[in-house]
Amino acid sequence: MFKLLDNKLKNSLLAVAIGATLSLSGIAQAGKYGIGETATAKEIAGWDIDIRPDGKGLPEGQGTVEAGEEQYEALCATCHGLFGEGEGRWPVLAGGEGTLTEERPTKTVGSYWPYASTLYDYIRRAMPFTAPRSLSDQQVYDITAYVLYLNEIIDEEFVLTKDNLAQIEMPNQANFFVDPRPDVKNTRCMKNCADPDKLQIAGTLRGITPVGHFVEGADAPAASHDAQMEQEQHKEKARKATLKGESLAAHSSSGAVTLSATAEAGKPTYEGACKVCHGSGLTGSPKFGEPDAWTDRIKQGMPVLVDHAIKGFTGDTGVMPPKGGRVDLSDKQVEEAVAYMVESSR
């Protein structure tokens, strides 16, 4: 093919080839492909949130147990309990010392976690559950101090700082060791591998597996959180109807609720922010779809309910943090979500 080309073209092709080789070797210093921009220090700083046991990554600042108590009770206690005892199936944060060898160990910050840095790191990256990355560095220091205090790792007067956090020794730190597996050795036996007379056969614990999809008449949990909640609500209605001597049929109309436009608009906010507590009735919150929980509240009128939801409210059964802890929500979004819950729970 080159035979057909004149010298001038041949030379210019050669130049292109050399140029390509040169530029490739030029890129080699920055990486083989030279793909991707150099990340700026500013870009990295915004995302570089991790903390290490040696304190690397900790921001400037300090926190106190006293300030932490206030933050904790407003932002954390709903799920983790006032004393870190855990509500529902949410994580227990404190206690459990000496239980790791027991039949039912309680693994908490104090009884299990090897490093205090993990606490700062985790609160900073993921808490509070409904509003991650909403806390200031100061708030994280305060809450970290308070959780350490709940675990009796620091005392009331302790001021947690960038410099002393890494010095805190956690009670269980020495008890972690690197994976030694393979730790068991089976052999490929083919005949007479066990004494048939000595086999112990234990059956399955019944009634806790969702098996409604293949076992007729199974009285078992559902296979999704929503369906489980529906099932529980249905059972509760049936129980109450029986108590009142009513037939269930009168109550089990399709359950279709016609929502106003405001309520309809509030559904995504409910799903993303409110459902965590109101979906299950966590810590005394009025449970979604449960008229009994809402009737008296609805009587107070929408403005009161919306006001409580926006500003926060402490009632007889529990605490509603301002906007449920989701301060990023607009007042309008909260109002819509309240409308959605109210209209779905009449």
């Binding site: 995302w47 993990t118 991650p132």
Partner: protein, 444 residues
């Protein structure tokens, strides 16, 4: 064919028939429903122990009759621009065990292994595990930053990442808590819940090694922190040896872009390692000289031993296997020839052999491996046999290419006790009753 084995009520059958008759003309419909009612009445009477099959309702479409769908036209192209499974397969779905977790936003669902064929898990059925729900991330607004102990910190767009030469590899992914509910006893009455935190896909992306070379890791760089972009900002420390070996940064699964549930638009994939290390919605890789000891590698994903000490960095998913047919969801329906099938997998390489026992582990016979036998991928095994109504204690035992033999539950418990939660890979037992019913039992 529908695999639902419960005997539906007459009302349910009627509803189903009404649905199935939707496409018929008014006369055919009336005829279909009249015949159907007779069939339903007959069936309700002959339902024994929930063993009847719902799809046997109508004989109107069976020979010698011309079936309804042979007498009319179906829908045309692009009726469903993105197709879905047949509406008769609606029972093939992910399921969860709600009491395991406080909320669906930080929870897990399981793959219906009992309904799947071959070794690939369809994208919509890959098990889910989230710590802060599924974020909806536009690919053009997603970034991956590599920084720390590197010569040049880099920020990649998805477009950048997709310019690199790509690789496609079939790998399983398994939650280390798979089977973890059963350390102390059999608790789950179905295969989906005993083993369903397990899926296998063809993943497409860039080897992490290539991206690290691009940034230039400094000699003191020994660990990598991988972090997600979702609300949980899930983070794990990965040793550099793994990253340079076979870790992938993937953007596609089974031929299409990742599903949001699986990390769209970008996730890490550590083949053969506990699923939690394959961080989804991957936004950041920081190279450091030490591990970070974050929540998911201290409070969680560490294995508590009977002496109160705990194992850390228990990365590998050891050799495991389970029989998927028969299983509680797939009981034996009639005597005669039968193909026993199941899945075997190992985080240490390839599966070399699977044996099957019919007597609870007293004697074993070799099964054959069928189809693809790949590194760190699900491997299907099979044994054709005959069942004449005799009771079985059915087990499978996998052996990997390193010679490791899947252990018994007794062997694991002896070393690890009952509170280690993770990495239970023991031989599993299905009890087959003379009726064909299959239940989950434990043999010690």
């Amino acid at each position: 064919m529908s695999k639902i084995i419960k005997g539906p009520s007459t009302r349910e059958l009627m509803e189903q028939m009404v649905r199935e008759s939707e496409h018929l003309s008014i006369n055919d419909r009336r005829d279909f429903l009249r015949k159907g009612v007779a069939a339903a009445a007959g069936m309700a009477a002959t339902t024994i122990a929930g063993q009847s099959i719902a799809s046997e309702v109508s004989k109107a479409n069976l020979p010698p009759n011309e079936p309804a769908w042979g007498k009319q036209l179906g829908h045309g192209v692009v009726e469903h621009p993105y197709g879905s499974p047949s509406r008769f397969e609606k029972h093939v779905v992910r399921r969860t065990v709600p009491w395991l977790t406080a909320d669906s936003i930080a929870s897990i669902s399981m793959t219906p292994l009992q309904d799947l064929k071959g070794i690939i898990t369809p994208n919509g059925l890959v098990f889910e595990r989230y710590h802060g729900g599924v974020p909806q991330i536009p690919a053009e607004e997603h970034r991956l930053i590599i920084h720390g102990l590197v010569e040049r910190p880099i920020i990649f767009t998805m477009e950048d990442l997709m310019r690199f030469p790509s690789v496609s590899e079939i790998k399983f992914i398994e939650c280390p808590a798979n089977g973890g509910m059963e350390w102390k006893g059999a608790q789950m009455e179905a295969l989906q819940f005993t083993h369903g935190m397990l899926s296998c896909c063809e993943w497409t992306g860039v080897p992490l090694r290539v991206l690290l070379e691009e940034a230039g890791v400094k000699p003191e760089g020994k660990w990598i922190l991988a972090e997600g972009a979702d609300g949980s900002h899930m983070s794990r420390s990965i040793p550099i040896e793994k990253a340079l070996d076979d870790t992938l940064v993937v953007y596609a699964q089974n031929g299409e872009m990742l599903r949001p549930e699986q990390g769209y638009p970008l996730r890490l994939l550590n083949p053969g390692w506990e699923g939690n290390t394959s961080v989804k919605w991957l936004r950041r890789l920081e190279i450091g000289d030490k591990p970070w000891y974050h929540r998911e590698e201290t409070s969680k994903y560490t294995d508590l031993m009977p002496d109160g000490r705990a194992r850390k960095f228990t990365f590998v998913q050891e050799t495991n296997s389970v029989i998927t047919s028969p299983c509680p969801e797939n009981p034996l329906v009639k005597p005669g020839f039968l193909e026993i099938e199941g899945l075997a997998w190992t985080g240490r390489g390839k599966i070399k052999q699977v044996d099957i026992s019919f007597d609870g582990g007293v004697s074993w016979v070799p099964a054959s491996l069928k189809g693809l036998v790949l590194d760190k991928a699900l491997t299907r095994f099979s044994l054709v046999t005959k069942w004449d109504g005799q009771p079985w204690l059915l087990q499978s035992r996998a052996i990997d290419e390193t010679g490791y033999v899947q252990p018994t539950l007794g062997q694991l418990r002896k070393v690890r006790g009952g509170n280690s939660i993770y990495h239970k890979n023991s031989i599993h037992t299905w009890k087959v009753a003379p009726t064909g019913e299959v239940t989950n039992v434990q043999i010690t």
